[in-house]
């Protein structure tokens, strides 16, 4: 029996390379990777033949793959499909903890089969979610070298590079990605690059294309793209359009957190702060993020309800976690914006800017320098924060204030 098994091992491997990807347009992704070892794959969430990316669909898929992994801990297919679903869940819940579970699972299968391509490319995506951008870049490059024809890897590399602030290389990766295969994933990245360059009209066009190109069985991605379209409308001052897109996102994926917050932002822009507050307060119970708690605090501060404002500002800080564990400069920006713990804000901004040079980190650094009276350094950082031509309101207003303080 043993010899029989080994005799057929190559058959099992070969058939999964060749035939089991048969009917790929029906059951597996076009980007479905070839693997060196036999992988029992199935259609991913949101793919034809797979469960939809609804809350229930994601939950079912996660439970099913956890069960498969308990029975067979080295089941690469289950690990990849589980990670895929966990990544979606992390985004849908604005809760990156599920990404950690995915990383564990993938690393376990990669330990036994280091060349396992499916697991490797998925690990890159998971590491992005964990804000381990240098690791993600390395993994993305390794996967790219292994499979130069897979556009996914250029997405991973570009995402990592953009977070690290290496914009020229990031934009090259995205242009490569879209020319290899124009898809929703590529359109969304082109949109973000355009936005960073201050081209909001072009960003909107491309993000709209991403939304149009997303199939109905992937409501999570539909909701995500619709939310991004809404955000772009909002930034361009088109409130009814923004509101409609946020509502579209919630129609596709009920209670989609980013879209719920978006609806609140529209209310704030319309001057309906009572309605906005109600939306925010309802949402913060589900997703207590720094961003959301900060917005609630601001609304209370406007109403001169300092006690409530302070309560939510504190919640914002708590949601961000300890200063020394920050992988992005949000907390620094928040603290500096609200004149809280300015020394700590600067320390965070400096420590994050040792890791990455994206414009948001540079802005946090500029603003923390400014608030701590280090104007020359603020000016230098602010120039770096505006280097892409961004039209981000906060970055531009910080830059203007710094410039004015220097007497320019």
């Amino acid at each position: 029996m043993t010899t029989e098994r080994s005799k057929f091992a190559w058959v099992a491997a070969a058939i999964l390379i060749g035939i089991a990807a048969a009917f790929a347009p029906r059951l597996a992704s076009h980007a479905a990777p070839r693997s060196e070892t036999a992988v029992k794959m199935a259609p991913g969430v949101g793919m034809p033949g797979g469960p939809p990316t609804s809350t229930a669909g994601l939950g079912d898929r996660i439970a099913e793959m956890e069960r498969r992994l308990r029975e067979q801990p080295d089941d690469v297919g289950a690990a990849v499909l589980l990670s895929d679903a966990l990544l979606r869940q992390a985004r849908a819940n604005v809760d990156p903890r599920s990404a950690n579970r995915a990383a564990d699972v993938l690393k376990a299968v990669l330990k036994d089969a280091p060349g396992q391509y499916d697991a490797l490319r998925m690990l890159g995506a998971i590491q992005l979610s964990q804000h381990r951008f240098r690791d993600a870049l390395d993994v993305g490059k390794r996967a790219r070298d292994e499979r130069p024809g897979d556009a996914w890897n250029y997405g991973v590399m570009g995402d990592a590079l953009i977070e690290l602030g290496d914009y020229d290389d990031a934009f090259k990766a995205f242009d490569t990605m879209v020319s290899m295969r124009p898809t929703a994933a590529a359109y969304a990245r082109i949109a973000y690059a355009r936005e960073l360059r201050g081209d909001l009209t072009g960003a909107l066009e491309s993000m709209q294309l991403a939304l149009t190109s997303t199939p109905p069985q992937d409501p999570e991605a539909q909701a995500w793209y619709a939310t991004q379209v809404g955000e772009l409308h909002l930034r361009m001052g088109r409130l009814p359009e923004a509101d409609r897109e946020f509502r579209r996102a919630v129609f596709a994926f009920p209670n989609y957190p980013l879209a719920m917050v978006g609806q609140g932002k529209v209310r704030v822009a319309q001057g309906k702060s009572e309605e906005a507050l109600a939306i925010y307060l309802d949402q913060v119970k589900r997703t207590p993020t720094l961003d959301l708690a900060g917005r609630i605090g601001d609304l209370y501060a406007k109403r001169r309800d300092d006690a409530q404002a302070e309560r939510y500002y504190q919640l914002a800080e708590d949601a961000a976690g300890p200063a020394q564990a920050q992988t992005e400069a949000n907390l620094a920006t928040f603290l500096a914006d609200h004149d809280r713990k300015l020394t700590e804000a600067l320390a965070i901004a400096e420590s994050v800017s040792a890791m990455r040079h994206d414009i948001f980190t540079e802005d946090a650094l500029a603003w923390s320098y400014f608030k701590t009276g280090r104007l020359a350094e603020a000016r230098a950082a602010s120039e770096r924060a505006t280097r892409t031509g961004t039209r981000d309101d906060r970055i531009l207003s910080h830059a203007a204030t710094i410039k004015a303080a220097l007497g320019h």
Partner: protein
């Protein structure tokens, strides 16, 4: 579910990791690039049995549509260019190209619902998301304008939702069949997926149920007994069909060959980060992301690592893939998995090159140029049911095995809806060509045994086809098939 939650929490506790709080991060954009709406799943082309002066093309997109697909029901993608290409002089290049662009209306911007009441006609205001399309033809080396609009704002039917939303579905769908001034008939909309195959068995190490006893792994503890019939893995799924019926005179050159080669495709626009100016030029070139001539080429012949590249290429460049046809991996697998088979040649497969890349001499050969086109000899006229045994029209029922069985009006001379391309391919790759083809060309088409009886046991579609255009069966209804 509870355990999942618990595991997630435990993982989070064990692995101390901070929660990034930024809510509007772009970095979390989805990476999955599955693109069903631009996924061309099948192409059929045949001389129309009820109008033999025409050829009917059926190009299907969007795989495995669940009939109960709400609240967002599937539709063609407004941002995709769908095309049916025809080469009539054997060089692999388009001479006639039919282009379809869709646009969706929103009748009531106050709701995202597909419909807000019964849809009793194509113009019913209760249908909130009607989709229309424009049809354009491009001609190259053919009489007529280089580019001509054949139809504007042509209607599509709604999806088949249920007895309250879409009663009288067949009538509703039939009203979307258009006859254009050029004499062309056209239909675009949801249909039953006419493909049939035992996906479950083929995925399970190609364990063809009728041949389970001959499989290398024949002992599954009683779980893989021999079964005479397979299980149709695409039964009760829908797809989106573009059907086009064109007078043959518009497809061939005056005085030219009567054998045409065809393929269908879907293309998306490339966008670049840098726009050349502030407003115009927001879109770049069309990039072909999916194409289909012969069935199963992308799935069975082209290796995974080459699939994107293959899909981008036009058939005129297909010589670069010739080695995959000459030394097909599928044949090695068939030989390896089924010891009982008479081992088929694993290299030098000129038979496959003929069938798949150049056409079969005497049947539908178009020259030495190798290109993956579905070739139809339009001089072979079918009888009323679509068959022409020995090339002579007959009212007899067509053979699912087509040319192998002597019925020359089917695959690989074009492809009819009922042609069993899975069984035909299983036999062709194993060189079990049957006595008729073997009699015509004994060296090119060996007749190995038992290779010539291979099959997945699924011999027909789960729904009968229509006898008139668009021939493809009505879609399964969401209410009936959850």
């Amino acid at each position: 579910m509870k355990k999942t939650v618990l595991l997630t929490v435990v993982a989070a506790l064990v692995m101390f990791q901070m929660l990034p709080g930024k809510a509007s991060s772009h970095r979390e954009a989805p990476l999955i690039s599955q693109d069903p709406m631009a996924d061309n799943t099948d192409l059929y082309a045949f001389v129309s049995p009820d109008n033999t002066d025409t050829v009917t093309f059926v190009a299907n997109y969007i795989p495995l549509e669940q009939p109960a697909g709400g609240p967002n029901f599937p539709a063609f993608d407004d941002s995709v260019l769908y095309e049916i290409h025809v080469d009539n002089d054997g060089d692999g290049k388009d001479n006639v190209t039919y282009q379809f662009r869709f646009h969706t209306q929103t009748r009531n911007p106050e709701t995202f619902l597909y419909n807000v009441g019964t849809i009793s006609s194509l113009s019913d205001p209760n249908w909130n998301r009607p989709q229309f399309y424009d049809l354009t033809v491009e001609r190259n080396g053919m009489p007529g304008n280089a580019r001509e609009d054949l139809g504007k704002n042509l209607p599509t039917p709604p999806d088949n939702i249920g007895p309250r939303s879409t009663p009288n579905y067949d009538t509703l769908a039939a009203s979307a069949v258009q006859t254009l001034p050029s004499g062309i008939k056209v239909f675009a909309g949801q249909r039953d997926d006419p493909f049939f195959v035992d996906l479950g068995s083929i995925f399970d190490l190609a364990g063809l149920r009728p041949f389970n006893s001959l499989h290398a792994i024949f002992d599954c503890g009683g779980n893989c007994p021999v079964e005479a019939t397979g299980h149709d893995g695409v039964a009760k799924f829908n797809t989106h069909t573009i059907a086009l019926q064109v007078p043959i005179s518009q497809l061939v050159k005056p005085g030219g060959s009567h054998t045409i080669g065809t393929y269908a495709s879907a293309s998306r626009q490339e966008v670049r980060i840098l726009r050349t100016d502030g407003s115009a030029d927001v879109h770049g070139n069309w990039v072909q992301v999916s194409r289909l001539g012969h069935p199963l080429i992308n799935e069975v012949v082209i290796p995974l690592g080459d699939k994107d590249q293959w899909n981008r290429q036009d058939p005129e460049n297909d010589s670069q893939f010739a080695q995959y046809y000459l030394s097909p991996e599928v044949t090695r697998l068939e030989n390896g998995l089924y010891a009982a088979l008479d081992n088929a040649d694993e290299s030098g497969r000129n038979d496959l090159v003929a069938i798949l890349l150049t056409g079969v001499p005497g049947l539908n050969f178009t020259g030495d140029k190798r290109s993956d086109l579905l070739r139809v000899n339009t001089d072979l006229k079918p009888g009323v049911n679509g068959a022409c045994f020995s090339g002579i029209p007959t009212s007899a029922a067509p053979s699912r095995l087509s040319v192998i069985d002597g019925d020359f009006c089917g695959y690989p001379n074009g492809r009819r809806l009922a042609d069993d391309v899975v069984d035909i391919d299983l036999r062709a790759f194993a060189q079990g060509y049957g006595s008729i083809l073997n009699g015509i060309a004994p060296t090119l088409f060996p007749n190995r045994f038992p290779n010539r009886v291979l099959g997945d046991g699924v011999d027909a579609n789960d729904k009968p086809f229509l006898s008139t255009f668009p021939y493809v069966a009505a879609p399964w209804q969401g209410y009936q098939v959850p």
